[in-house]
Amino acid sequence: MKALKKSVWVFHVNTGACNNCDIEIVNLLTPKFDVERFGIRLVGSPRHADALLVTGVGTRQAAKRLQEVYRQTAKPCVVFCMGACAGGTGIFEGAYHVAGPVDKIIKEVDPNAIIAYVPGCPPKPEAMISGVVKALAAI
């Protein structure tokens, strides 16, 4: 578990975002912010991931898929809710397509899930880095 703090492999899941947070996440993984210093790496498969970067309010269609992706992620893992929508439905409060904020969807599958929230619309890449570092220090 100590090594988990030094080497975090992230997988990006979009559950119906407007793409703003997704663009900021992809910006985060470019050489400009150099998250490889912290051991953070983007991987292509949830089975390889330690952290799920979830963006977007949980739409009804994406809810089941998000739960499936969470079950396929090898535990122990952390779920990062990036942005206002993932944190608590943001501006889509009460809309017809919303199946609940992301933490409600994940807790249906695993009540003991470790979930961290990075607010912002979209959160700046520096805020995301700070959120990841703080969450890893708190595990």
């Binding site: 090594a3 988990l4 080497s7 490889e36 051991g39 498969s45 330690d50 090898a74």
Partner: protein, 324 residues
């Protein structure tokens, strides 16, 4: 280290003490050297991209973290092959490294060992193909097909490049005697070295030939369904290949890795680092090829270059022109 190797010349057996030390140290030493080599790859890539890159122990942290995660086996997958494949791959690469390091340390070899080395180099690719086809996943199936096509593409040019070296050294099949010449200093040898460099790039799974394990295209293709300790074994296998394959290229093309003096050891390490840096620079300056482009590259362009190299080598051997 000099005191351990004194009292023996080229071609003599090692003393009993250095023998024991060698056999105790070789497997952990190879794995640690592989982790250091993979750090060198990541650090040089970072420097080429004007950023800082990971700390020195990062590959070790990655492997230790992976050992602590759970292992998920797909429900429809073939359990035995799924679990055995990474172990077979790692075993093959470790045997290859042991053989090459033994030949380097003792400066003796057996006849036909270059054929054994070529045979052992296929094992990691074969293990990847078996492991991904046991994964019962459509993405892994695409990765399997691509890896099979890639192996069919680069195996023939790789073997032909070694045939060029065998012709140039006068029909020797013994790695220790091949390592005493430097075939790269001739035209056909240089052609063969460049082609074999690209084939090794494909075998290591580096861009432009990381078609099978393409992260963004097929969600990590061949090793997609692996997690936890099995994934750690795959990663250690890939990093150990970073020790064995450039060392093999140094022994075959660049004049070997001598251990008789400190200067020879330093020169050997310099040659190994040169090959590694060439692989890293090719990796960082190229996009990924499609599988049909890669096959056309290996069969048509590398094939023509190697046919020319073989012809030049045979002409040079017949008429005694050494620089051909």
């Amino acid at each position: 280290m000099g005191a351990v190797f004194e009292g023996k010349g080229e071609g003599k057996e090692m003393s009993a003490l250095s023998n024991v030390i060698f056999w105790i140290v070789v497997i952990p030493g190879t794995i640690i050297a592989g982790l250091v080599a993979s750090w060198i790859v990541r650090k040089v890539s970072a420097l080429v991209q004007w950023r800082v890159g990971p700390p020195f122990c990062q590959p070790l942290y990655d492997v230790m973290k992976l050992m602590g995660k759970e292992i998920l086996v797909p429900r429809d997958g073939q359990r035995t092959v799924f679990i055995a494949a990474p172990l077979v791959g790692l075993a093959g690469v470790l045997v290859l490294s042991m053989m090459l390091l033994r030949i380097t340390a003792a400066q003796t070899a057996f006849v036909g060992d270059i054929i054994v080395a070529i045979y052992l180099m296929v094992l990691p690719s074969l293990a990847l193909i078996l492991g991904s086809s046991a994964s019962a996943s459509p993405h892994a199936a695409i990765g399997t097909g691509r890896e099979m096509k890639l192996v069919m593409g680069y195996e023939l040019p790789l073997v032909l490049a070694f045939v060029v070296v065998i012709i140039k050294t006068g029909g020797q099949l013994n790695l220790a005697t091949i390592a005493q010449n430097a075939p790269v200093l001739s035209v056909s040898g240089m052609l063969a070295f460049l082609v074999s460099l690209l084939c090794v790039q494909a075998k290591l799974g580096f861009v432009p030939f990381d078609i099978a394990e393409s992260e963004t295209e097929v969600a990590s293709g061949v090793i997609m369904e692996y997690s936890g300790a099995l994934l750690a074994v795959w990663k250690v296998m890939q990093t150990t290949m970073l020790v064995a394959l450039p060392l093999f290229l140094v022994m075959v093309f660049l004049g070997g890795f001598g251990v008789s003096t400190v200067g020879a050891v330093a020169a050997g390490i310099g040659k190994y680092v040169l090959v590694l840096v060439l692989l890293i620079l090719i990796k960082n300056t190229n996009p990924r090829l499609r599988i049909d482009q890669a096959m056309r590259f290996f069969w048509v362009y590398c094939g023509i270059a190697l046919v020319a190299a073989v012809a030049l080598a045979m002409i040079g051997d017949c008429y005694g022109i050494h620089w051909l």
